[in-house]
Amino acid sequence: MRDRITRFFGSRLGIMTVGAIIGVIAPLLQYFGNPKNMGICVACFERDIVGALGFHHNAATQYLRPEIFGLVLGATIAALIFNEFRSRGGSSPLVRFILGMFAMIGALVFLGCPWRAILRLAGGDLNALVGIAGLAAGITAGVFFLKAGFSLGRAHRGPAISGWIMPVIMVFLLVLAVFRVSFVKDGALFFSESGPGSLAAPLAIALVAGLLIGFLAQRSRFCTMGALRDVILMRDTHLISGLGALLVVALVMNLILKQFNLGCAAQPVAHSNHLWNFLGMTLSGLAFALAGGCPGRQLFLAGEGDGDAGIFVLGMLSGAALAHNLDLAGKPDAIVDGVLKVGGISTWGMLAVLTGLVVCVAIGFGMRERSA
């Protein structure tokens, strides 16, 4: 029975089914309260968690997003049931941390990870096309390095407890989210009272949605970066058929739920500064390609005991703190007195993206193995 389920999720029908289910769930999460075009956004939600814990002080983006805890723990449950939970790590952890950090900075310049890029497009936000083009450019650069022998080296099996660290952290944060612990007066935890951080589906719905997606994605190896990478690298359309199903179904759902609004200017939590939308996602795409998985996939791997993916997630969390503390993140378009004020990023944000690209290219060249 377990083998049959494994074969199903490994099939094209299986990955498309998973994509379609995510395509139903994400717009529903928006319907139930999540920010517009942000049913699931790994980068945004991790950034909100970082804010809730007080690692950045942008009052508009602070919330302990249960979806993230669900994504990790859903993958843990699937890995345990199907005997795939393996504690492992030791494959260039510090490099992965840095890749995670810059992946997050790039994503927050664009205002969304690859998951949200697809959901933004499904909601009619045409800026997402620019972001996805940037993502493809970054992944193409990553493929160049992979073909040239790029490798982060071998991971090694470890004691069970090391693989449990990320799932246990997620349980701990979930407990904090449920009880909204106040550790110190006027201090953490922080919960936004306005802005995207204040918009959220009810905790139970968000958690169950995360658990379900985490479970299905662990079984099907769903990966938004891998979808594009496999097409560019091997003309393999397996993963991208899942991403395509997600896009089509989310588009239909948005039309049904009246959440579709076609255009570029003043889209929800988005800016129409095309150059930096493109370059932000180029940086993200390259960092995800070098690290071997999109932000969602890194959460699922962390859930099944992969400490290296866990380190990448911690890098992303640090990148989120930096992005807001150093004013690197994108600012959304706004309508001020009836006039469109195009958002974008600060000079520091531009410098951070360019620095990230230089660092990722250096890592790409520097981590090559002649004979793997």
């Binding site: 494994t6 490994g10 199907f82 795939e84 393996r86 492992r88 494959s91 992979l146 073909k147 490798s151 982060l152 080296g153 071998r154 991971a155 090694h156 099996r157 190896r221 891998g226 990478r229 496999d230 690298l233 091997m234 393999d236 397996h238 071997g292 998985g293 290296d308 793997a372």
Partner: protein, 67 residues
Amino acid sequence: MTIIDTRGLSCPQPVLLVRKAIEAGQKPLQVLTDSATARDNVRRLAERLGLSVTITEANDEFTMTLE
């Protein structure tokens, strides 16, 4: 028989190494992996290229024979 040890390598390296070996005409191939994801990806690649795949599992590691 050519043996490719992909244990501990992350995606997509196992598939790349196997594809390179197949393109170099190294058949039959034995592929070692400790990841179910790599097992599934290598199996999909092999089946796409019309090769037969047999898989044995021991101690949470997989030995795949492609021919």
